[in-house]
Amino acid sequence: MFVGAIFFPLLGACISGFLGRWIGDRAAQWSTVACMVLAAICGSAAFGQVALGGHPLVQLIWTWMDVGGLEVSWALRYDTLSVVMVAMVTFISTLIHLYSVGYMSHDATPARFFAYLSLFTFMMLMLVTADNLAQLFFGWEGVGLASYLLIGYWYDRESANRAAMKAFIVNRVGDVFFMLGLALTFYIFGSIEFATIFPAVEAHAADRFLGIPAIELIGVLLFLGACGKSAQLGLHTWLPDAMEGPTPVSALIHAATMVTAGVFLVCRMSPLMEYAPVALTVVTVVGASTAFFAATIGCVQNDIKRVIAYSTCSQLGYMFFAAGVGAYQVAMFHLFTHAFFKALLFLGAGSVIHAMSDEQDIRRMGGIWTKIPVTYAVMWIGNLALAGIPFFAGYYSKDAILEAAYAAGGGAAAYAWVLGMAAAFLTAFYSWRLLILTFHGEPRADHHVMEHVHESPLVMLIPLIVLAAGAVLTGYLFAPLFIGEHAHEFWHEAIFNGPHNHILHEMHEVPHWVPLAPTVMGVAGIALAYVMYMAMPALPARLARMFSARPEMVRNLPLIPAEGAEQQTEPNPGGLYGFLLKKWYFDELYDAIFVRPARRLANVFWKVGDAQIIDGMPNGAGSLAVEASRGAVRLQTGRVANYAFAMIIGLVVFVSLFLFVG
């Protein structure tokens, strides 16, 4: 059962990937779905036994490596923290597999798609059940690989290839820090097994490395790694571009797998993070900033999937600052509920895109709610949950996060609370902007598209309905377990709260207006969206012009459907609107700081460094030898390359002396 939950998806991936060509597409699809169902059954059973029954265990598989005190095993660690993830990942992934059967029915190579999808799930499961940092890194990189393959699934599109590469490389930047954090962990603790590290944290709390408290440094390095995977401010640029993948992939990346890995890591390392207050402050500030920053961008995007993508980014920020104030349980709770309604929103968006003949621009939608009523209803539910409207799943978790931030006190927590409240308002606003523009108003698509608008097949609707039920119920059902008065019994030892950390208790004792505030912000956001897009549809464009440097470039809202001109680059109107539309110019900034200089440097190194200086030297030496044999020994060779070469060598010697001896 414990092994099955993890390895059934791998089995499915192998069947579909290697045998797909022989057994046919249908058999390949359904075999992966069957494997996922088995995994989900195992996962739920494991949840019952480990989390509800209270029997954590570690299932050893075999030794990975054992080098001079560095022992690393392949093992499955089942405690409440991991089993929550296992149950959630297998369940949601099964629904996404099922949905994909309908969504990818017109695709040319569905066997390949399902193989990747199952591989993705397997890697995520390896990540969450890791018993040591190295296996966690295996899953960590594995989801990176799977997302790379899935984002670039339609590899004949240049944009998909670029997005896939970007996702992998930006993730790799985070991974460097993860790797260094891992190396430092080994250096301090002499082990990277969780079972060895965690009890030893207290004994090493005063250790210093290069004059910095070692535990803090580990915390920050691992968090920087988490930033890459969870798309936090600075390393978030890959996430919106990841929308190039098929929609079920976006659902899988954003809901169950991949982006939640960073939050999971911080919670998994809670015994260590609790002794790293500075690192936790960093987590809080970065998380809160991301929550706000991504929400502002979400308000002006026009691609249905990108809006939801930025909302994920923003919600991950919430999870991080919850963990940052010490409320890991709350962060995990939001991760759990978020998985349901975010999967719902993406799959719902997929259903809309499917109905609209692959149109993704919400400016070319509208007026379709009567034609696809089920999709419309589930999108409502998803957005209600996202906006944190009472009694939907998101209400319980998001409220708890903001209460925890309020209760924690201190500068960083206050900063997080303020930005969190603002983001709650923006979240509700962009959710209803999306909802209204997509479904209501005059139809803005051309009549060919409108004629074809149709509800999705049953195989796609069933997952939507199940997820909608989840988006309604998971908050109410699981709140007592995850964050209630008896939460410690549920979590056992899986999450550690320091002796002075009573946040779970204190968050229930905030003033009465605090729990109400997020709801008020949410309702206000919805009201504003209603006014702007329903009551006065001309207002948004006017506002956009007002905050642009070049107003004439803002496009009118009832966009004239341009035949064949889809996906052309958006003009940049400048000003505040342009700033938001261009996503705070992060892409442009990185391009100018990293990408282009690296290219230029590469060419200089190659054409000048290698071809002229280094290769010039032996050729120079050769000619020198010839001259010497003629008896014309000269001190000066007269070759620039020789001098340059000598200088390089000299510089290297000098630098090494300076760095290591001085």
């Binding site: 075999w62 030794t63 990975w64 490596m65 054992d66 080098v67 001079g68 005190g69 560095l70 392949w74 190295a134 890194f137 295996f138 990189e141 594995g142 690989l145 790379y148 670039g152 590899y155 004949d156 240049e158 290839n161 896939a164 590469m165 992998f168 490389i169 790799r172 930047v173 991974d175 460097v176 790797m179 260094l180 891992l182 190396a183 430092l184 080994f186 250096y187 490395f209 290069l210 690296a598 290219r599 590469a602 060419n603 190194f605 190659w606 460094g609 290698d610 280094i614 290769d615 032996p618 070469f645 390089i648 060598i649 290297v652 010697v653 090494s656 002396l657 760095l659 290591f660 001896v661």
Partner: protein, 503 residues
């Protein structure tokens, strides 16, 4: 005499020469000669591989001593003898050489059409030299093999290579030979100092501190070129580009390991103080190699050149690991050497598959290959990911251990090595994207055939090895664990003694 009762190592070393002799004696028409030469070479190399598997089974990993030893007096009055043996550090390289040779012969089956007989003879001689070099336990014997490797390789590049083969062959030969001259001087000094060239005996003799420095640099001159380390690496891309596919495989798979093996076998044990003193220099050169050559790889337009530059970056990781002087670093370096031998060899084979069909190495000549050759794309993806260092595949374990080992010495070195992770992902994915993904831009590519059964046979063992090394590296790590520990112990002891003497 030794564990198996017959001179196994000599047999493995010289059997390929016998095969070469048989090929030489084949008479008949050209086509008959070619066919016979191929089959004889394949069978010879397979028998050698089977024999070498005895090493895998019978090698005792629990001791650091040399095993399967053979001794013959040769010039006793000079203290020079024929002495062969393997320990945990060298045994897997013997296996790597004997495993790659049959694959190379298979890979050249159809690609080589002219002078097949001479080509196969060169390859078998090359195998003898490689195996002999890793088995030699006498410095003179080692030196002979070490230098003699160059001759068949020089011929393979110079005769069967691409258009600029003569330039590349000479560059390769001169570069690698020049460094070796200094090493010969160092060997002469060591012989003069100790009265013997027997390697285990040399280990017992301390080299005077003053002499260590210049001997270290003499060795460095020779080994750094072979590794190759920055800035003496430029012969490698040229040699790779012009070499035939199988030549590149051996060059990347085995020949590049000779330099690093030299450091491990000679520099560290014989010159402990100088090695410790100049480790920072090696670190700087290695980190520069990792960053510099990774960036250069990013700009390449030729597939083989790109992979050649990536080899330099990977070998930078190896040299960092060697000079960390700790168990993780050294084991990581050894493992990276093996993994790189398998993976970069496989990557050159991947390039070879396309080259055989289209006769172009230019990246822009391709595009959308994944659509035409799906199986090939899958194999290529696997090795691309292995080269990037994806956990679960071969290269990761080595890089991971080196970074951990380097951190204990200097975190900035570890950071430099880790930077290779990002840059490596950059250039390899960029290569893969331009070759395999995208739209099919050239109509003639549509006619390409996917992997043939012969090519599957070549790739299958490499795929298995890559996965095996990634998922269960312990079966390889355990071979050199004790030897590495013993090496480190000796190193520590020597440094301790030197410190005492200095007080």
């Amino acid at each position: 005499m030794n564990a198996v009762g017959f001179p196994l190592l000599s047999l493995i070393t010289f059997l390929p020469l016998v095969g070469a002799g048989i090929i030489m004696s084949v008479r008949g028409e050209d086509a008959v000669i070619a066919r016979n030469a191929r089959w004889i070479a394949l069978w010879t190399s397979l028998i050698v591989l089977l024999l070498s598997l005895i090493l895998w089974v019978r090698f005792d990993p629990s001791t650091a001593a040399f095993q399967f030893e053979e001794r013959l007096a040769w010039l006793p009055e000079f203290g020079v003898g024929y002495h062969m043996g393997v320990d945990g550090i060298s045994v897997l390289f013997v296996l790597l050489s004997t495993a790659l040779t049959p694959l190379c012969i298979l890979a050249s089956w159809e690609a080589i059409e002219t002078r097949v007989r001479e080509y196969m003879i060169s390859f078998l001689i090359l195998e003898t030299m490689m195996v002999g070099m890793f088995c030699a336990l006498d410095f003179i014997i080692f030196y002979v093999f070490f230098e003699a490797v160059l001759i068949p390789m020089f011929l393979i590049i110079g005769v069967w290579g691409g258009p600029r083969r003569v330039y590349a062959a000479f560059k390769f030969f001169l570069y690698t030979l020049l460094g070796s001259v200094l090493m010969l001087l160092a060997i002469l000094y060591l012989w003069y100092n100790a009265g013997t060239t027997d390697i285990p005996e040399l280990f017992e003799q301390a080299v005077p501190r003053a002499a260590q420095t210049w001997i270290f640099f003499a060795f460095l001159a020779s080994f750094a070129v072979k590794v190759p380390m920055w800035p003496v690496h430029t012969w490698l891309p040229d040699a790779h580009v012009e070499a035939p596919t199988a030549g590149s495989v051996i060059l990347a798979g085995v020949l590049l390991k000779m330099g690093a093996y030299g450091f491990l076998r000679f520099s560290l044990p014989l010159l402990p103080e100088a090695s410790a003193e100049f480790a920072p220099l090696i670190f700087v050169l290695s980190v520069v190699a990792v960053v510099y050559t990774s960036l250069v790889a990013l700009a390449q337009e030729d597939m083989k050149k790109l992979i050649a530059y990536s080899s330099v970056a990977h070998m930078g990781i190896v040299t960092i690991g060697i000079f960390t002087f700790n168990q993780q670093g050294l084991s990581g370096a050894l493992f990276t050497m093996l993994a790189h031998g398998v993976v970069s060899g496989a990557l050159f084979l991947c390039v070879g598959v396309l080259y055989d069909r289209v006769h172009s190495r230019e990246i822009l000549r391709y595009g959308g290959v994944a659509q035409i050759m799906p199986s090939y794309a899958m194999v290529f993806m696997l090795f691309t990911m292995a080269s990037i260092g994806l956990p679960g595949l071969a290269n990761f374990v080595g890089e991971f251990l080196v970074i951990i080992g380097a951190w204990a010495v200097n975190p900035w070195v570890a950071f430099g090595a880790a930077l290779g992770m990002v840059l490596g992902a950059g250039y390899m994915l960029y290569l893969y994207r331009r070759v395999s993904f995208g739209r099919i831009t050239r109509e003639d590519l549509r006619a390409l055939l996917d992997l043939s059964p012969r090519e599957y046979t070549v790739f299958a063992p490499l795929i298995l090895l890559t996965l095996w090394m990634g998922v269960y590296p312990q079966s390889f790590l355990s071979f050199f664990e004790v030897s590495v520990a013993a090496l480190l112990q000796r190193h520590e002891a020597a440094l301790g003694a030197a410190r005492l003497a200095g007080m």
